[in-house]
Amino acid sequence: MTAATTNAASGEKIDSGKARQARITGGILIALALLVLFVLDVGTGEVATFKLSRPRDAIVLGDLVVPGSFNLLVAALLAFLGVRQFLRGGVRWSNLSIGIGLALVIMAFLVWATAGKSFSLTGMLQATMVRAVPIALGGLAGVLSERVAVINIAIEGMLLAGAFTGALIGSLLGSWLGLAAAVMVGGMFGMMLAALVVTYRMDQIIAGVVINLLVLGLTSYVTSQVFAHNRSLNNAQVFRAWKVPLLGDIPVLGPMLFQQNLFVYGALILVGVSTYYLFYTKGGLRARAVGEHPRAADTLGIDVYWTRYFHVTLAGMVAGFGGAWFTLGSVGRFDENMTGGRGYIGLAAMIFGRWHPVGALAAALVFGFADSLQQKLALLNTPIPSEFLAMAPYIATMIVVAGLIGKARPPAADGKAYVKE
């Protein structure tokens, strides 16, 4: 397949690639339109009621009542976008159309699922944000290390280490010190990953897998060996939600963004800071240069090894903070393997978000949304099995990785060890 494409003239290749992508996008949109029309079909008489406020909110909005014919409108819009893409689409419009299309489908889905019932939109958005936090921080850790070309499969282990340390030190010395310790231990595992792959040139994926196995073993061992007998060591104070004055009273968005605990604010700030750092500062430019072309960066006098150590350690600290969410931000108690693959989902969020902090956050919100929607669906009694909904984000990630929609390009030197001349 590659041989065939290399033979084609390069200009032609790009054009046919774009056209193919536009056709695929168009096809998907039309398929979605048919899905909304036939599967998510709501009887015309029925209405879906979305509650926008909770009784004790400062500003109370009325319920949003959507008639069932909304889904017909969505189907028509999707069909329009799809046909437009199919006939004369450009790459710039492909991504936008898919984005709009997916948002429309989710709205139609919600209307279909709530038809004849009522549903608290605010509560679900708040839950979405909470569930997105560890995934977003895991994704951010992935972005920081992959931008310097170190593949970080170890996010899972770092999250788990953060969760464990948060619970242990949080129980002994208080939550704030527990948080600090979780960040430090996360950083330590980041440094360990850097040492294995930069200094000892171990295969990056193996190193990550090994760290995950090691952390899982260590934390499970201590949990069953020590915590089982000393419960006081595994009982930390949880950080409470803190409402931002004024902003917290905004209807719908307020509870989602400004009535949360430390970890939500921390994640939002970290995403902002790292976006600024990576794309608008000298240090960030150097880090990205190391990820794209380490030899060139080295020639210009950037210390490749040091840059990789620094950023992978930083990634570990971010993941350690994210890990502390599991214990200090939610239940206060550590359980064996309590991260349950959230680190891998963070990795998926990073790819879904195209190696960009804001993208990773957005992808994490999608994952968090699917996660909380899955829980709500059980209450709404829909015929779609909740397991399939839970699979949807992973399938979407595979589609993105396969480059069927848009192109996700990792840093050029990703995964390669660098040997200084």
């Binding site: 171990m202 090994v210 073993g217 061992y221 069953s224 060996q225 693959g341 990785v401």
Partner: protein, 382 residues
């Protein structure tokens, strides 16, 4: 697992010359000294971790004795070791084969889960088939589903270049949900149960126990022959067959393999499918030989341990068999350790991970343990 370390032609030529002259020594170091050293150091570090968590010295001694007795100390221990190693070796063979072809398949866990489930479903769908036939067909059903599931990642990689690490991780996550869903379907779920658990494998579909004429508690089952056959088959496939040569060539140098006329896409899909078939077979052997039914997470991390196993066995079938016996022994001995000395079996997980750290980073081993190696052989393959 060959990471190219720079394109310094002169240096490489020098190293090649050195390797030719000191070949026996460096192979010995790589194949024997490093693994033995890794196991010993991992056990010592395991003892230190026990010490750090407040286990006293006599108990540590007792736990190592229990580890030895529980893995090879009695007929029952040997039977448990072999039983534990069967799925590990089968899945490890698949992963090793993938490594040889340059594919890092993290998805053994998912392939194993779905393969095992397929074997269970097949066996209770045709309960009237006679004994060896049902058993064999169920194993084949497990292998086929494992192969199909793995080839999704293979096809994606061959056609679009999607990295197999990411797609197999996603396929793992999908398989957990899919299994949860399947186990609640009325056709599969055990009658009268509300929790997700499947119907049982009928007697004719089970891998028969081999030693129950000595003691009915001995769990060793006929899967051990499946394991040995698979080792022989993978050895033949890798080192004596045409497609195996294509696997190894594509793994060692994809560009050269393509210029030599090997179809890289086909090689990727075939290698992934074979790896998936072996992982599916591991799942089938586990449900037909030990568990008797499928439940959520019945794979118990075998798919991830198998990664470690394939690395330890240097992706060679015989090496994987030996590594599998070691891990099976650690598993069986770990259970004994938990009973006798009250030390959690999770310690075994730490020891396994440490073994892999040392195996996969020979430079690290050389740094810690310089007197076991020739000085000039430093900086070998990473």
């Amino acid at each position: 697992m060959t990471t190219s370390i720079g394109k310094r032609a002169l240096d490489d030529a020098g190293r090649a010359l050195l390797q030719r002259t000191a070949r026996g020594r460096s192979e010995f170091e790589d194949l024997v000294v490093v693994p033995v050293f890794a196991v010993i150091v991992a056990l010592i570090l395991g003892a230190l971790i026990m010490l750090a968590t407040g286990v006293d010295l006599p108990t540590i001694g007792k736990s190592f004795v229990a580890l030895a007795v529980g893995s090879v100390g009695s007929l029952n221990a040997l039977s448990e070791t072999l039983t534990a190693s069967i799925p590990l070796v089968l899945a490890g063979l698949g992963l090793g084969l993938g490594f040889r072809a340059g594919l890092f398949n993290i998805g053994a866990e998912g392939q194993l889960l779905l393969g095992g489930t397929a074997a269970v479903v097949f066996s209770f769908t045709f309960p009237s088939l006679p004994f060896p036939l049902l058993m064999i067909l169920s194993l084949i059903a497990g292998a086929a589903v494992g192969a199909l599931y793995a080839s999704i990642a293979g096809i994606l990689k061959a056609t679009t270049g999607a990295h197999e690490v990411i797609s197999t991780i996603m396929l793992n996550l999908i398989s957990y949900r899919l299994l949860e869903y399947l186990l609640r379907q009325p056709y599969i779920q055990k009658e009268g149960r509300s929790d997700p658990i499947s119907k049982s494998v009928p007697d004719a579909g089970q891998l028969p126990r081999l030693l129950d004429w000595i003691d009915p508690n001995l769990r060793l089952h006929a899967g051990v022959f499946v394991m040995l056959l698979a080792v022989a088959f993978v050895w033949w496939l890798l080192f004596r067959s045409k497609i195996g040569f294509a696997f190894r060539a594509s793994g060692a140098n994809p560009d050269a393999a393509r210029y030599a006329g090997m179809r890289s896409g086909l090689v990727i899909v075939a290698a992934m499918a074979t790896a998936g078939a072996l992982a599916g077979l591991a799942g089938a052997a586990q449900v037909q030989g030990v568990l008797g039914r499928a439940s959520p997470g019945f794979s118990a991390g075998i798919g991830f341990d198998a990664i470690a196993l394939a690395l330890l066995g240097r992706s060679h079938p015989v090496g994987i068999l030996l590594a599998g016996l070691l891990f099976g022994g650690l598993e069986a001995g770990g259970r004994q350790m938990q009973v006798d000395a009250g030390v959690s079996i999770d310690l075994i997980g730490i020891i396994q991970a440490l073994i892999i750290v040392f195996i996969a980073a020979p430079l690290l081993v050389r740094a810690i343990f310089p007197w076991g190696f020739r000085k000039d052989a430093k900086g070998g393959k990473a």
